[in-house]
Symmetry: C2
Subunit: 382 residues, 2 copies
């Protein structure tokens, strides 16, 4: 046994719900293992007594069967071990345990003493509605595609989308700084095109460039986008790290709405027995990390999310988390105009509908196609 | 059909091998889908003809059955769509496709025209051996634990480990900047303790602090660690983003060996039907991202990697990738002195053995325990 130590801990704890897939005996062992693996990472019989054993090691708060082979366990951790920052918080929640099969993070319950560390989304749902002058209906989003087109062609698309009534025109997440459409040129031309359309329509459409980039260029890209007049930022936190998005969101000199893209994060959700739940990943964690809109693949498109999983994402974007604002679920991924009525019914008003490539399907007149998108939403939303 | 465009592409392509789990018809459809999803992300029938259809869309190079329900497909992409940077390269390899079940990235084959973008590991195996004055035998590594101990207690451990002959003493990956062991204090005391031991032994042991931190503090932490005299850096790229590690590795003003920790990356590997293979993730990608040593859970410990998976990691750390150096596989996770002879046989000499908590198991004299570790390795390595 190692030296016992006294720590001056607050007694405040945060809770994580995990689902464990296995028989009951193994599930109980897994639960005890998580308590150690996510904290002291030390042989159980050697853990020092005193405050480390009593407070640093995770605690099983509840353990209940969901069926013979699935168990729900709630484990609490001292808030201090998060270091009061997102990276280490995520590490405590799922760092090493991510490598163990049959464990899935389902939800987070963070006390005010920990949540106050986080600013969260700068705009949230209300802020984005006010920023875009759209008080009630779902917001309309499209993406500039296909990769290979020039900045000039994308700017022409953006102009037409904006004229037709789209609220948010984002870069496709695969548009980076490739030779055929360099980042700066694209930002300049597309921002200008959308501003021109706004002058003609009197509406407020925003262009949201993809600023995902090498680690030393993300913030620089964001500042550049801001300086040129971009209306928001798109980032893939699975590629950059969640905390880069948090840093962007917290930066008062940038202060633009942030849309998170799910690229390179799929492995967290594709297996129902491990990873992180749709609710926690696309809802709670995106909010802690400062996204104002969380993009994910809708049910019925070219991905495999179910209606229930999409519903759980909506729940995660709006569950009460103290001062952390609710954000917009942003379903996309193979959506089309035909799916709008059903989506309006399913999602209600507080949603951003993202139709990308399929907005090109109804003929080459993108102004017309965008108008149809807007009319459909206005007609069928509640 | 959209406007056809001519692009001035080099014709150079990189290749990714994916495993697809499904029947043959679905596997063929999945393969075609990857070609589109990872590039133009556009309805197949609307993709512009010309260079976009011919070169930007991914190409199926080979497709072969491995069994009735498992297919190996090799897809090539134009090097230009990587934007010649790691973040976008990873996005092309697996961005959206990560969200589709039944697709696993197995290996990467990058041409010299793309590899020259990357510096890769600064030290690699040869560089670390020379840096640590250990020409032949496996390197010995341990971790400072358990979380909750003070910087002063960790420094005392570090001193004893260094006296006993450990080559690399790293922070446990859960040691961040918590109140009970603040980052700067820990770095200062542990660096000093290891230097003191080195003066007494005449050996070169290095202390490798965990610099994983909020996005705006990682580089600052690294510079601080360097300024105080730390001998290497530990980072969890699953938490910070891979490219932050690449940035650290490329920074000539830091120039320390980098150890990557697998925290928060497990979801890539835990399901054999999706994610990224052990070979590609802990081998090839870590090298592109600049790690000199790739930590992963060994077979037979408290994680579930198989011997074959560990063998494949070794292969990934040393497969020829032009100028990108070979790096050290660093198995850990529940290893003990008893497992050393078997590990020596399995891994040979080019390995770093990481024994953490179990080095406390053989009594409180850490100098003695470390000596036994060294003797065992010297006695049983080839």
């Amino acid at each position: 046994m190692l030296t016992s130590v006294s720590l001056n801990l607050s007694g405040e704890r945060f809770r994580v719900v995990y689902h464990l897939t296995s028989n009951e005996a193994d599930a109980r062992a897994k639960a005890r293992d998580i308590c150690v693996e996510q904290t002291v990472e030390f042989p159980g019989d050697l853990v020092p007594l005193g405050d480390i054993q009593d407070f640093i090691v995770g605690k099983i708060e509840t353990f209940e069967p969901l069926n013979d082979n699935l168990f729900r366990v709630e484990i609490s951790y001292a808030v201090e071990i998060s270091g009061f920052e997102l990276v280490q918080l995520l590490n405590v929640i799922f760092g090493n345990t991510s490598i163990k099969p049959g464990v899935r993070v389902m939800s987070l319950d963070l006390p005010q003493s920990l949540l106050k560390t986080f600013i969260g989304p700068r705009f949230g749902r209300r802020g984005m509605r006010s920023y875009l002058n759209v008080p009630k209906r779902p917001l309309l989003c499209t993406a500039l595609k296909p990769m290979g087109y020039s900045a000039k062609l994308f700017a022409e698309f953006a102009y037409q989308f904006a004229l037709g009534g789209i609220d948010i025109i984002k870069d496709d997440h695969g548009l980076a700084n490739q030779p055929f459409s360099p980042f700066k040129e694209r930002i300049e031309l597309c921002t200008e095109a959308v501003e021109q359309a706004n002058r003609e329509t009197g509406r407020k459409c925003i262009y949201v460039p993809n600023i995902t980039a090498p680690a030393d260029q993300v913030i620089e890209n964001a500042r550049y986008a801001k300086s040129v007049g971009a209306g928001g930022l798109l980032i893939s936190p699975g590629l950059t790290g969640f905390d880069v998005m948090r840093q962007l969101a917290d930066d008062d000199s940038i202060a633009l709405p942030i849309m998170s893209h799910p690229a390179f994060q799929g492995s967290f959700v594709t297996s129902s027995e491990q990873g992180i739940s749709h609710y926690a990943l696309y809802g709670q964690i995106m909010r802690l990390a400062g996204a104002d809109a969380s993009i994910y693949p809708n049910y019925g498109g070219r991905f495999s999310f179910s209606r229930d999983e999409c519903k759980s994402i909506v729940d995660g974007t709006q569950v009460h988390m103290d001062h952390i604002k609710s954000i917009f679920p942003t379903p996309g991924g193979g959506m089309s105009l035909e799916s709008i009525p059903g989506m309006c019914e399913f999602y209600g008003n507080d949603v951003i509908f993202l139709i990308g490539g399929n907005l090109h399907r109804h003929g080459p007149n993108l102004v017309e196609n965008s108008r149809r998108f807007l009319e459909l939403v206005e007609k069928t939303s509640v």
